[in-house]
Amino acid sequence: MDWISWMLPPGASTFARDIDWLYYLILVITGIAFVVVEVGLIWFLVKYRARPGRKAHYTHGNNTAEIIWTTIPAVTVVVIGLLSGGVWNNIRGRESVPADAIPYRVHAQQFEWNVTYPGPDGQFDTPDDFTRRNQLHVPVDRPVVVELTAEEVIHSLGIPAFRVKQDAVPGMRIRVWFQATTPGTYEIGCAELCGLGHYKMRAVVTVHSQAEYDRWLGQQSTIAASQ
């Protein structure tokens, strides 16, 4: 069996930094709590095991101790909550989508991702729009915004490397944005059970350099125009 790392896999979008940081913060905090409780548990089991002639210490509680272990978790979770709220707002808040984001339309259906590109003019519903199945091409270091729709059942656009996950719900248009930071290809998987081909609902996102992206876009529009 291969050794599997306990670290998060490398991220490739601007969200990865914040989300990963928050993840490690919670990991450290919960890790401390975990060690305190489990070590305490084992220590007590050994130290206070029944021995002849010893009687247990008769007590119903201790208010000070209880106040301490109520307050510490309460303060901790509130802090985690506030930090999370800030990051969440940057990712999903109403105003979070950058104005210059390149628009895409992704229409999910059993069991395909249909990606519609606005073409070189950057506008939808113009003749240079074109649709590619299971292929999302984005330029690096540019915010992109995907308008997600679904044909029949709920799907979920999951791009682990980008720390992106958003359900596509029939009857709703949901906007999800991200900004890729590293050129390369990454996998998209459906994260919401959508039927027998759920596991096969795989697509690929390719992050190009800007020049490469422009070239690709031009090429695709030519093909689209010829059809």
């Binding site: 059993q110 069991f111 199945r133 027998l196 081909g197 096969k200 795989r202 059809q227």
Partner: protein, 251 residues
């Protein structure tokens, strides 16, 4: 109040689950008369005049195993016209057969293969109750979703190479569409008949229907993109007749 009814209905559905157990022979058992031995033949062609529409290209890059089975640009064979001859036209006797006659249902299955992420054959006929053997020759998942209107549909999957599954339809229907949701371009059509007088036009556009009793028949040719054409043909006992269907680009 509605629970017992619903419950009963469900149990019935549960018990009556023996799919395909009611072949055509059963339903008309009372009126069953032996099928008259006919010997007439109708042959003909399905033609197309003008410039055939271009077939869309298929991007199979994500299924390397399928792509490897093809060369060059892969297109979806929606309209295949060779020298003015249309293949994959489904020709069948629509009406004119004697009433109350049943025809024996073949027990040999019709095979439909999924090969290179395309259906072969793309268009074919079966008799009601005749088994359809669905085969997967690709090492990838296919699902087969049949969306009939008169028959009971199904949605099954074949995740591995070499799998076969057998299904039947019980009621005549032109046509039952098959689709694969994993590969949205994959389509096939099945004509379900209660008689054996049907054929699919070949690469040369030709078809042949044999063993007909003498009579006047309404023949229909069906094509997935081009639509339908109907012709009336009279044939004498032991004789033969021809039928020419012609589609045009304006259809």
């Amino acid at each position: 109040m509605r629970y017992p009814i619903l419950c009963g209905a469900l149990l019935l559905a549960a018990c009556g689950g023996d799919r395909g157990a009611t072949p055509a022979a059963d339903t008309t058992a009372a009126a069953a008369a032996p099928a008259p031995a006919g010997s007439a033949t109708i042959t003909g062609t399905v033609r197309f005049s003008g410039t055939a529409p271009a077939n869309p290209a298929i991007d199979m890059s994500e299924e390397a195993a399928c792509q490897a089975k093809h060369t060059g640009v892969i297109t979806d064979p929606q309209v295949v016209v060779t020298n003015g001859m249309v293949s994959n036209g489904f020709v069948y006797v629509k009406s004119g057969l004697p009433a109350g006659v049943t025809y024996p249902t073949p027990t040999t299955p019709v095979v439909i293969d999924q090969n290179g992420c395309l259906y072969t054959p793309r268009v074919f006929g079966v008799m009601a109750g005749q088994p359809i053997e669905i085969r997967n020759s690709d090492p990838v998942l296919h699902n087969i979703k049949a969306v009939p209107t008169a028959n009971r549909g199904f949605n099954i999957s074949q995740p591995s190479q070499g799998m076969t599954t057998t299904r039947t339809f019980t009621t005549a229907e032109v046509m039952v569409p098959f689709e694969c949701n994993v590969h949205g371009w994959m389509n096939a059509w099945v004509g379900v008949m209660t008689h054996p007088f049907y054929a699919t036009s070949g690469a040369d556009g030709g078809f042949s229907i044999q063993g007909l009793p003498a009579g006047t028949y309404e023949l229909e040719a069906w094509h997935e993109k081009l639509g339908t054409r109907t012709i009336s043909v009279t044939v004498a006992e032991g004789g033969s007749a021809t039928a020419e269907f012609s589609f045009g680009p304006t259809t």
